[in-house]
Symmetry: C2
Subunit: 297 residues, 2 copies
């Protein structure tokens, strides 16, 4: 299996795009043709969400390198939702898109091994559910060891939370340490260590970092602290981040950062007179164009 960062680089080059489309399906926000007019049982709600996500995948595949299903929205539909997640991931893979499971998991020992098995390891004869997974660093390195092993062995990728896009993240991430740095900068240093022996042919690591596009200064600083990490930058669009502010993220190369947007793409038809698929494709194409321009500064 090709190294994760090299798979990203290939996709970025081929599509001239660094866009990741977040899949956050919420039943009552789906087009009425999918959700109908009546209250749906969970099973049908999950099926409607899956159809929606597959339609979005068809629409954005030419313009986005990956989809990022946000697991919470599938878990909220219970077992039926998890079946929908499996279907959507398989559909994305068939459409030759990378899949980043936005799980933000973090746990210890045998539990961490089970999470790695759930999301980034081959499942018997079947391929892994996702190419990469987001993880939370609060439990330290040993909690991420099974994921690092999957990077090494199965070509998986990892995106570790470093500086999240929400204001409240400051409660913990912006605490000042005794050496004068902030906690998120310390975590960035750890992420660099965890990924330093997992470099692909292009020089980028399988261990990336999540940094909110809502904080452009911190994005630039994370780039400096983590020259070999792929940065995953959520928060563009509905949360207010701007592609033009993200140029410094790309100083390690065009595939050294991915820009993720969810609601502003998948629900784009709210703001334009177009079919929901056409609107999503259009929004993804525009974002891809803007990010590509920023990356080529």
């Amino acid at each position: 299996m090709t190294h994760f960062a090299d798979r990203i680089a290939e996709a970025v080059e081929r599509k001239r795009s660094q866009v990741v489309v977040g899949l956050d399906p919420v039943l009552d926000q789906l087009p009425v043709e999918l959700r109908g007019e009546t209250v749906l049982a969970r099973e049908h709600a999950a099926a409607a969400c899956a159809r929606f996500c597959c339609g979005i995948i068809d629409a954005v595949a030419p313009y986005a390198v990956a989809v990022k299903p946000q697991l919470a929205f599938f878990e909220a539909l219970g077992a039926d939702g998890m079946r929908a997640l499996e279907d959507v991931c398989e559909y994305a893979r068939a459409a030759e898109m990378l899949v980043i499971a936005d799980a933000k998991r973090g746990d210890i020992g045998s539990t961490a091994r089970a999470y790695a098995a759930a999301y980034v390891e081959p499942r018997g004869d079947a391929p892994p559910l996702a190419d990469a997974v987001t993880v939370n660093p609060y439990l330290g390195r040993d909690a991420l060891e099974p994921f690092l092993a999957a990077c090494r062995r199965d070509g998986a990728g990892l995106f570790c939370l470093v500086k999240t896009s929400n204001a409240g993240g400051a409660d913990v991430q912006d605490v000042r340490l005794s050496d004068g740095t902030l906690l998120w900068q310390h975590v960035a240093g750890l992420v660099g260590e965890w990924g330093e022996d997992l470099l692909g042919e292009g020089g980028l690591s399988a261990v990336g970092a999540v940094v909110g596009a809502t904080f452009p200064r911190e994005v630039a600083e994370a780039r400096r602290l983590l020259p070999q990490a792929v940065l995953l930058l959520p928060g563009v669009g509905a949360q207010g981040g701007k592609p033009s502010d993200l140029a410094p993220a790309f100083t390690s190369g065009p595939a050294s950062a991915l820009v993720s947007a969810s609601r502003s793409i998948i629900y784009a038809s709210r703001n334009v007179a177009d079919d929901w698929r056409g609107a999503a494709g259009g929004a993804a194409a525009r974002l891809a164009h803007d990010v590509w321009a920023a990356s080529a500064w």
Copy 2:
């Protein structure tokens, strides 16, 4: 709905126990009568795990106040595993045990709302999947707001990671801050703030804290920092924590701490000549006795 901490207090009083049994089902560790001799398809593996967990619930219900299904082990079995989780939670509720979903989730905005809906909010006409859920504090208060709302509105409980039981937790949690404290102590302070307006009739908060029983000194310190929190103490048994070291956790009352063990109870039959259910019941009864003795110092 009765306040979560008051539900715990009632159960602790009734059963004279502060034990929580962790449900970490792993197929190849199940009794052979459940897993059979051949490799099982996922669907059958999930069903075997559910039967195992229900048998454990029958065995430990007299001696334990709650079960703590570890979601990773169910997620590793995909949608079938999540169906098994739903069945196990329902079975535990029917056996009048509290359910703590060990999810360690943490995410922002609409995603956090979806996680709260998945685990601690009523699901249409059905009750919440669990009474309480474990969460990760790295994303700060706004990421936990939907869970706090469920505490307020639906009588849910929350256990926030503070100082985890693994050695590697020190990478982040034991970092020293500019004011001389450690990060986990800062997080303990936040947990106290988040829970201060969510007190039950017994004076304990719906917002508890996870502190590893593997660090008895830190348990005592967490008790001092968080006099109104229910402490959830994992790490007894397989990880090496001892009930006799945990007495300081109970200075806020007999229901102010819960001691969680998983493998040392559910797989107890490995070490004794007894049926797996009998062995689990015996191990839970012994732990309940030892913890009760420690709590009554």
